[in-house]
């Protein structure tokens, strides 16, 4: 009898969950998230989606504190900090969702579906075309004077994307790459958005930064151009995952898979991102083919060397 009651209770809770509430913690641009949530809710009007959106640092700090206090809230996590997701996966706190969507490149379903890339973002060389006439074509070209003196990148202690730049380029070109840039006068800014604003207004001539933000400024008329380096633009992971403590895992999975649907992929493209599904249209003003290299985040030792080199603290 008791068992029956429990079963009935479970059935009831599942039934309620169908029309339940999803909580998403994300560092995505809010306008983009809202558009996606709106499209999802048009198909699932019975589902409420609550979004907590903040900087990656705030989202991670909030979640860490919630975990420590024993009451984590989100059903879905979506931010630019793969290391933290890996840490959660290692503790068994992410739910594995088998990658069964036809055509989806399985290499983007990490750990066999623990977390997913749903659109792509690259670190590229951004150029202020009013300050720099002759444009570098590869990462190595940045070493040629006067490029280093015109160049800036975000602080890898603050920006996950910059941590990817540091890890990837120091592995491929050696740490000497950054030593030469430093000797030539490269500067460090706090974040990608601040860097892009300063670049667009001519404070710098060149920047190592995310392609998506630069495209947005170009659309507003900024004298900027993106260079996808010959030797490979750095693919920055910004994955989404379903948490193991989620009370609505089916709904959360439905939301995740919705992001791979043609409609969601089209929304991503409209907003300047590369879609992850093959065959989806590419964003306006972007090269049709991008040579991408998978990002490798800098290890603590490399980051410490970088910090010492540039006088940065963490």
């Amino acid at each position: 009898m008791k068992r029956l009651l429990i079963l009935a209770g479970m059935a009831l809770s599942v039934g309620l969950a169908q029309g339940g509430t999803l909580t998403l913690y994300t560092s995505e641009i809010l306008a983009d998230v809202n558009a996606l949530v709106g499209a999802f809710r048009a198909q699932n009007p019975e589902v409420q989606v609550q979004v907590f959106r903040s900087g990656t640092g705030e989202v991670v700090a909030k979640l860490r504190a919630e975990l420590e206090a024993g009451n984590p809230q989100p059903d879905l996590l979506w931010f630019a900090n793969e290391d933290f997701l890996r840490e959660l996966a290692g503790k068994g706190l992410l739910r594995r969702i088998p990658p069964t969507v036809p055509g989806y490149p399985v290499q983007f379903a990490h750990g066999g579906g623990l977390y997913y890339e749903v659109r792509l973002l690259y670190n590229v060389i951004a150029v202020n075309t009013q300050r720099v006439r002759e444009v570098p074509a590869s990462w190595r070209d940045l070493l040629k004077p006067p490029f280093p003196s015109l160049l800036a990148m975000p602080d890898p202690n603050f920006s996950g994307a910059a941590l990817a730049t540091l890890g990837t380029l120091s592995q491929r070109l050696g740490f000497g790459f950054f030593e030469t840039l430093r000797a030539g006068g490269m500067r460090i800014e706090q974040s990608n958005p601040v860097l892009q604003q300063k670049l667009a207004r001519g404070e710098y001539g060149l920047a190592i930064t995310t392609d998506f933000g630069v495209r947005q400024e170009v659309a507003k008329g900024a004298p900027l151009a993106t260079v996808y380096p010959r030797d490979g633009a750095i693919l920055v992971p910004t994955p989404i995952a379903v948490t193991s403590w989620s009370k609505n895992p089916e709904l959360a999975t439905r939301f995740l898979l919705f992001l791979l649907s043609p409609e969601a992929q089209r929304l991503f493209t409209e907003r300047g991102y590369y879609p992850v599904m093959p065959g989806a249209p590419k964003p306006k003003g972007s090269p049709p083919q991008v040579v991408g290299i998978r990002a490798r985040f800098a290890d603590p030792e490399t980051l410490s060397r970088f910090n010492a080199l540039f006088g940065l603290r963490r």
Partner: protein, 488 residues
């Protein structure tokens, strides 16, 4: 000397348990940070530098504000010019920093690092210090006039003028020092490219650090340092010295008024030039293209404006009521203010983390009430400090008591009316801060109940700097209306 009011009935040290209860969010951080405290030895340079920079900024701001207060009082500056001066204080410091950067960039000047931070701090916080110093300067000017009447000139006149100002200067200096020590926005914009670190930016970096073993604990350890550095300001107390009722002001000086107006315009222009250009003109094509419609059209902004207005009004109202209720009990008030000062000083992110650790298991969590509670804890020190002023209040209440009024009636009829200007200053101090608050709300807002600060941050993170500038200007516009309508 016995204090007027209810002090005698308060022999039990009520402030101790109350302070302890209020200290809980900080105690949680203390526990988390303590094991990492020894390892902060490597940050000693940043700790010392934060102390020196905040101290220097405080002195500069006090000096400027004192001069402004003299110009303002002696020049009988009217509401309009004063409102102009105060406007600059009503944008978030982060936006002041960016505005200054772009204004000076337009003029071909590149300002970064220590000079940039000091300039931005001084410009941003001088109006606040002016507001807090003004009533006291008025009284001191009255003394100066009296001294002149008695034939004192030059240095001797200054000797009559300055000493009565020391206690208020100390208290206002304490408020400024706390604000500068805890400020994140300005050093983040102007300091990092020059590798100038202060404790809040370092604590934030550590919180996000990809290589920290225990980010929360290591950031909390730096929070403990902030609390330690705050101690001198926390311990500052004020003894009411001046008893003059109506200040006997020197004759009005039009030149002073002109200087005051010139400064107000110049300081505002220095920040506004960049913001206006951003908001009104496409910075790339130079075309006239106001961003106000886009800013107001952002999905968040209207909701954020409504939520922030409500939160800020409720928080300001409750805090000032609390301040008034505690005003007759100076010992109690100063006792708990010590704890509240720390909450005001802690970077919003750290106080937020403390509150999550403490309250995540409760039903309060994830509701808008959590943010209200955070605002109350964060801004309460300001309300208490603002109302601690008011020389002559104690005397008036004592006089009322001598004439047979009960303590309650003496305060109601005599004490509180004298506090009205301080109440107004307090509201003006807290409301804009709560309205445009960023760091606490970035961590604690209830999903779906965003604030204006979240909207500004979201715009900045999304590279919408023009919309953020427009939003900053809209906030200033709203505040300007309130300023112009204020009682004289």
């Amino acid at each position: 000397m016995t204090r007027p009011g209810f002090s005698r009935s308060l022999s039990f040290p009520w402030h101790l348990p109350l302070a302890l209860a209020l200290a809980f969010p900080f105690l949680v951080l203390f526990v988390r940070g303590l094991p990492h405290f020894p390892s902060t030895g490597r940050d000693l340079d940043v700790i010392l530098f934060s102390l020196v920079l905040a101290g220097l900024g405080t002195l500069l701001t006090l000096f400027l504000a004192l001069n402004l207060a003299v110009l303002g009082r002696a020049g009988r500056v009217a509401g309009g010019w004063e409102a102009l001066l105060l406007l600059g204080y009503l944008v978030p410091p982060f936006v002041t920093g960016m505005g200054l950067l772009f204004s000076l960039g337009t003029l071909g000047v590149r300002i970064q690092g220590v000079p940039g931070i000091l300039l931005a701090w001084t410009l941003h916080y001088a109006p606040l210090a002016y507001l807090l110093l003004k009533p006291q300067v008025g009284l001191a000017l009255g003394l100066l006039t009296t001294a002149r009447v008695h034939g004192a000139t030059g240095l001797r006149a200054l000797r009559a003028f300055l000493p009565p100002l020391f206690p208020p200067l100390l208290v206002v200096g304490g408020t400024l020092y706390l604000a500068l020590l805890g400020n994140f926005g300005v050093p983040a914009v102007l300091g990092l490219p020059e590798r100038v670190y202060v404790l809040p930016t370092l604590a934030y970096a550590r919180l996000l650090s990809p290589v920290a073993q225990d980010p929360l604990g290591e950031a909390a350890a730096l929070g403990l340092w902030l609390a330690l550095l705050a101690l001198p300001a926390v311990l500052l107390t004020q003894n009411p010295l001046l008893e003059a009722k109506e200040p006997l002001l020197p004759p009005s000086r039009p030149l002073y008024r002109l200087l005051f107006a010139l400064y107000s315009v110049a300081a505002l222009a220095l920040v506004l030039l960049g913001l206006l250009r951003e908001a009104l003109q496409n910075p790339y094509t130079g075309r006239w293209d106001p961003a106000f419609a886009q800013a107001l059209g952002l999905p968040l902004v209207q909701k954020g404006l409504r939520n922030s207005l409500l939160l800020a009004l409720v928080a300001t109202g409750l805090l000032l009521l609390l301040g008034l209720a505690l005003r007759p009990f100076p010992r109690l008030s100063k006792g708990i203010r010590g704890v509240l000062d720390i909450h005001y000083l802690l970077p919003g992110t750290l106080l937020g983390v403390g509150l999550i650790l403490l309250l995540a298991p409760t039903p309060l969590y994830g509701t808008p009430w959590l943010l209200l509670l955070a605002y109350l804890l964060h801004f309460a020190a300001l309300a208490l400090r603002a109302l601690e002023g008011g020389p002559g209040v104690e005397g008036a209440v004592l006089a009322g008591r001598v004439h047979g009024l009960s303590p309650g009636r003496a305060w109601w009829r005599l004490g509180y009316p004298l506090l009205l200007p301080y109440l107004y200053a307090g509201a003006l101090l807290i409301f804009p801060l709560a309205f445009a608050e960023i760091t606490l709300s970035a961590l604690l807002y209830a999903p779906g109940a965003e604030t204006v600060g979240v909207a500004v941050l979201s715009a900045l993170n999304g590279g919408l700097y023009r919309e953020a500038s427009a939003l900053g200007l809209i906030l200033m516009g709203v505040a300007a209306l309130a300023l112009l309508g204020r009682p004289r």
